[in-house]
């Protein structure tokens, strides 16, 4: 596990981060503007915002896949240049390699980092078991269901024992039942005896329910260009059961509170969408 430069400092810090893209028509599109966000190590932050507001861009700044146009991104107190050590990133779409078996998919990261094939596979085998795919080691991704592919992607990310875990709507393509199963699984792996324990998580989603179920804190983003509108602590106890907790009054209270804040932004996005359609 990578040593943390400042053990008590925040795991992730964005200071006045702005990201602009050149659009295909020659104009400039601002995805996020002047965004400040701090995530403590071991904290589970869920980020919600209207569709297409720039939530994913926030993650790509932290991961080092894209540099910030202005402002700063810091991971463990150090400015992000290239891809920082100890970052795991789970994408919205499957990023499992279709030509590799489940086991070799999970072994991909360790192989890149220089482990021998045997050592990488041994490590991978352990994680395949942990995400509940024991017995499917030699299957190819096309032989698995959507939920199982997500488990492969999860194992592929967690096998690197990241201290920072970035998740970009990873479960949005799953059906409702599989989704809550995967939410439980994620919470179990994150808070359980696994090595992912204590990882700082930034979980982007457009599903407020999911955000409240998972997060210690829910951050609401404005309609694009995105910046932080508000932040809510989720006073629900852990361990949580993804299915059951939705029915408690405490859940509904915090849900209503966050929704009050999110509603305005969703409204703005909808009106814009209607404007574009007209």
């Amino acid at each position: 596990m990578p040593t943390q430069a400042t053990p008590d400092g925040p795991a992730i810090e964005l200071r006045g981060a702005t990201k602009r893209f050149r659009s295909s028509s020659g104009g400039v599109h601002t995805a996020i503007r002047d965004l400040d966000l701090t995530v403590k190590s071991g904290e589970f932050v869920a980020v919600v915002g209207p569709t297409g507001c720039g939530k994913s861009t926030t993650l790509s700044l932290v991961s080092g896949l894209e540099p910030a146009s202005e402002g700063q991104a810091l991971v463990h107190g150090r400015p992000v240049v290239g891809i920082p050590e100890g970052v795991g990133y789970m994408f919205q779409n499957d990023a499992v390699l279709p030509w590799r078996s489940v086991l070799d998919n999970v072994a991909t990261g360790p192989r890149y980092r220089g482990l021998t094939k045997r050592a990488a596979r041994e490590k991978a085998r352990d994680w395949v078991e942990r995400v509940g795919l024991g017995g499917f080691e030699s299957y190819y991704p096309h032989q698995l269901s959507g939920g199982m592919r997500k488990r492969v992607a999860l194992a592929q990310t967690l096998v690197g024992e990241p201290s920072i875990l970035l998740m970009d709507e990873p479960f949005s393509a799953l059906d409702v039942q599989t989704r809550s199963l995967m939410q439980d699984e994620l919470l179990r792996l994150w808070s359980g005896t696994g090595t992912a324990r204590g990882a700082a998580v930034v979980f982007v989603t457009h599903d407020l329910e999911e955000a409240v179920v998972l997060g210690d804190r829910v951050v609401v983003m404005t309609a694009g260009p995105a910046t932080v509108k508000a932040s809510f602590d989720v006073p629900l106890e852990r361990p949580r059961d993804a299915e059951e907790i939705r029915l408690t009054p405490e859940f509904l209270d915090i849900y209503r509170e966050v929704w009050e804040s999110l509603r305005g932004e969703v409204q703005i996005t909808r009106e814009r969408g209607a404007g574009n359609a007209a």
């Binding site: 991961s63 896949l65 891809i83 970052v87 795991g88 990133y89 994408f91 779409n93 499957d94 990023a95 390699l97 279709p98 030509w99 590799r100 991909t108 990261g109 890149y112 980092r113 190819y140 991704p141 096309h142 032989q143 592929q156 690197g160």
Partner: protein, 291 residues
């Protein structure tokens, strides 16, 4: 009473399923048999009417006829051709085609992937490649005979040029259309630039490249034959050229048939290779639907 009936129902259902499977299998066999019978009839009808027409109405000197072509093939394989043993001719042409195919596909794959991954290089080279692709490459065969002489190398060069472009464009496209998601994921997992190339780009482009190899081997044989045709001392192209020179239309057909058989065999081998390399792909849905 009750358990009895339900059990009988279950057994009945299993029976029904087994019967349905047997029926669908039999139907499939019948269908395949029917297709093959019609195919054979079609061949017999075409060859028969040709033979009949050439015997009674049209001039077999120009159009030849199936029995004459068959006679020529038997003659070539038993007593040899005007240029020596038929096996020597086949071996020479095959060797030229294989060397041209190997060099052309390696060159096409390497350059296609390099240009496909480098925006700058591909922008620089784009107009030249377009121009090179527009050249009627068959004409190069004449040039190569002047450059490399009547030996094997001029034919290899012709086959190389034809194969190279066919493979190059597919490799280029394949390398360009790599899923960005997969590349980003690999980078996050710690892959170096080289590792991204070998573990993501090359496997992604493989299905494109393999698709092009099918037609590329056909091009390799065309290249070798055309090369021989424009000047050679051995090979199937020379044999056909000689047949043309002596107004031996049966010889031209016979040469054509031999080349066709070689191309089909090569196609079959490539299909085996493709199946081996693309094991990870889901089976084509059309196969399942047929059952």
């Amino acid at each position: 009473m009750l358990p009895d009936t339900s059990e009988r129902e279950v057994v009945g259902a299993d029976d029904g399923q087994a019967r349905a499977i047997a029926q669908s299998r039999a139907a499939r066999r019948r269908r395949l048999a029917g297709i093959n019978v019609v195919r054979v009839l079609l061949v017999v009808a075409v060859l028969g009417s040709w033979e009949l027409a050439a015997t009674h109405w049209i001039d077999p000197f120009y159009y030849s006829k199936p029995s004459a072509i068959w006679g020529r093939l038997v003659d070539w394989f038993t007593t040899g051709t005007s240029q020596g043993s038929i096996w020597t001719q086949i071996a020479v042409t095959l060797e030229e085609a294989l060397i041209g195919f190997a060099l052309g596909s390696v060159g096409g794959v390497v350059l296609g992937i390099v240009l496909g991954r480098s925006r700058f290089l591909s922008d620089v080279c784009a107009p030249f490649i377009k121009a090179a692709n527009a050249i009627p490459r068959i004409i190069l065969a004449s040039l190569f005979v002047i450059w490399f002489g009547l030996g094997m190398s001029s034919k290899v060069a012709t086959a190389f040029v034809l194969v190279f472009f066919a493979v190059f464009f597919n490799a280029f496209q394949g390398a360009r259309e790599v899923d960005r998601n997969l590349v980003n994921n690999a980078r996050i997992l710690g892959a170096s630039r080289m590792q991204v190339l070998t573990t993501i780009v090359v496997p992604s482009a493989t299905s494109w490249i393999l698709a092009s190899l099918h037609s590329a081997f056909g091009f390799a044989i065309i290249g070798a034959v055309v090369g021989e045709y424009s000047g050679a001392d051995k090979g199937l192209g020379l044999l056909i050229n000689h047949a043309q020179g002596t107004f031996d239309s049966a010889g031209i057909y016979a040469g054509m048939i031999i080349i066709t058989v070689i191309a089909l065999l090569a196609e079959w081998l490539l299909t085996l290779l493709e199946r081996r390399l693309l094991r990870w792909r889901p089976p084509a849905s059309s196969l399942e639907a047929q059952i």
